[in-house]
């Protein structure tokens, strides 16, 4: 088995990653001891910082701000070259010149969530009390905590009401939390491929990923930075498993089938004979270059705990009672992580609370990841919704201010 090469560690970029965790190459909002972040677990986090990017200009009456919420392994670099990977922004189908979220029209804000590892305070940051990396000493955070921190950032930017809060997957959870927690501060929302609560199946997948990380001997009880190791193998396995859930059988089959990688015949070994195996290994190893393993544990946990109805006696409609926000909910036919049925449950609750809601299910075989890909019908409806909402808000030359 000498040709068995498991995922290797790319040490070259780990320094970049460590640097970005505390000194991000993006805008930074610092909150001192006088402005703690009140976490759901009961702890006041202070000081803390939020790393964020903005694109476009805020208009005179501050009515054109769009907050983009990133998914589990995303970050604030939604529309610029990533400082660690050198790749384009993670949502370049949706955000950018001529795209549905156009910096020519809107002031776009995207922040790294609390608990992340790209400059917002999280387990990869230095704990000021000890001078060491937080690791598992970092308190457990929730989606509402992330949103509370974003609201503090939006306050600091002097924006009373966001024109739109947009996001998919974990980003979509933040979108829903924003509207439930700050209904008067959100004019419209675009909630994509998400749910109001994490399903048992999804919690199960997350647990699989976390166990893979924690089973890696290099994880060292979460203290891998102090011990100068990194659980890259466990994290890569977690990413590989998660990545399968982001796709669909049809998409995998269309892309790879049973084709072999650089060979005609099987090697009768555990080498990556199949293209799909090489692809997954690549996904795993490129992920560990840019992401912190403990952050992965914290953020998956935050998604697991998410249950909007739980905060409202189990009645989802109560979370959105009397809300004026314009909703657009989008799901994808082949998404088995956040299936359409979960979006429908949300839409029913919104209807029950008389909310102004639109809902579309987009037909695609590309699975959960469809929201990040060039799916024309999805991009079209997003553009149409934002334009119509903009008209109602007096943007896009649709009346109101110039």
């Amino acid at each position: 088995m000498s040709n068995v090469r498991p995922i290797s560690s790319p040490q070259t970029q780990s320094d970049d990653r460590a640097h970005e965790a505390d000194h991000p190459s993006s805008l930074l909002a610092k909150f001192g001891m006088d402005q703690p972040l009140k976490l759901d677990c009961g702890i006041d986090l202070a000081p803390f910082q939020i790393a964020y990017q903005t694109y476009g200009e805020l208009n005179a009456d501050r009515s054109n701000a769009i907050l983009v919420c990133h998914a589990l392994t995303g970050d604030q670099h939604v529309n610029n070259t990533h400082p660690v990977t050198g790749k384009p922004g993670w949502w370049d189908t949706m955000v950018g010149a001529g795209k549905p979220i156009d910096p020519e029209k809107y002031f776009i804000i995207c922040s790294n969530v609390i608990g992340g590892c790209m400059g917002s305070t999280g387990p990869a940051s230095l704990n000021p009390a000890t001078g060491k990396v937080w690791g598992l000493d970092f308190p457990i955070i929730t989606i509402p905590d992330m949103v509370r921190a974003q609201a503090m950032l939006i306050d600091r930017l002097g924006i009373a009401t966001l024109f739109c809060v947009v996001g998919g997957s974990m980003g979509g959870m933040q979108v829903l939390q924003w509207t439930a927690a700050y209904p008067d501060r959100v004019f419209s929302t675009l909630a994509i491929a998400c749910s109001t609560r994490h399903s048992a199946q999804n919690i199960a997948f997350h647990e699989l990923g976390r166990q893979a990380v924690m089973a890696d001997p290099d994880w060292r009880g979460g203290r891998y930075v102090d011990e100068d190791t990194h659980p890259h193998r466990g994290l890569a396995v977690a990413r590989m498993a998660a990545h399968i859930t982001y796709l669909s059988d049809a998409a995998l089959h269309r892309k790879f089938g049973r084709r072999m990688q650089d060979r005609e015949l099987p090697t009768f070994s555990f080498d990556a004979d199949f293209q799909v195996e090489s692809y997954l290994r690549y996904q795993g190893s490129s992920f560990v270059e840019r992401f912190d393993a403990n952050s992965y544990l914290y953020l998956t946990r935050a998604m697991d705990y998410f249950d909007i109805a739980g905060d409202h006696d189990g009645v989802l409609a109560k979370a959105f009672a009397g809300i004026k926000t314009r909703f657009c909910v989008v799901s994808f036919t082949s998404d088995w992580l956040f299936p359409t049925s979960e979006s429908r449950a949300l839409v029913h609750a919104l209807n029950a609370s008389s909310a102004r809601v639109s809902f579309a299910e987009i037909e695609t075989d590309r699975g959960h990841d469809a929201f990040l890909l060039d799916v024309p019908e999805f991009l079209e409806i997003s553009r149409a919704f934002l334009q119509a909402a903009g008209k109602a808000r007096g943007l896009n030359g649709g009346g109101g201010q110039s």
Binding site: H348, A352, R356, S358, E377
Partner: protein, 220 residues
Amino acid sequence: MSMQQTLPLPGVAPERTGSYRTDHLLVADMVRPGSRVLDVGCGDGELLQLLESRGIDGRGIELSREGVNGCVAKGLAVVQGDADTDLVNYPDDAFDYVILSQTLQATRQPKVVLENLLRIGQRAIVSFPNFGFWKMRLQLLIGGHMPRTENLPASWYDTSNIHFCTIKDFVQLCDEINVKMERAVALDLYGRPVPLNLPWWVWNMFGEQGVFLLSRGGGK
């Protein structure tokens, strides 16, 4: 099957049909200003737009993705869904009016749908193509084939319309489930109302479609 409850006809002058369909104008005239309305099977949202232009708070359900996309682009609040399966999820008395415009014949369970309309809304407005219309009768009687019209051009084997009825049938159904007819209008081939003082069989014969304003529990 008396029609003593019918109210005077709203003014549907042909010249007003320029930008809106006559039947939509007729429906919109039945809705009290300032109400909340759910349009089931709202298509491209033309009726919803007309209602919103009159200050009515409108929502829609539409089966087709193209329809939903078009509505969202117009700024309307429209949910992709199926009248047969989704109405059960709407709470009682959620709307003042629920409209079912030219959709009844495409539902699997027209009776259940009708009952749901009047559970969700205080009132329901239902319009449908009348299969008792003379041209339809003629096609079956003389032509010997299932009727097709300009508004219903599909052949019997590929139409989404599966439960056709006549005005007479519909009135019977309303009686059966104890629905009160507050207003009833038959429109002729040109979308003009058939005079009300004419007897029922004339409506059933010369109405190309029927438009009904319904409310709960009229008694028999």
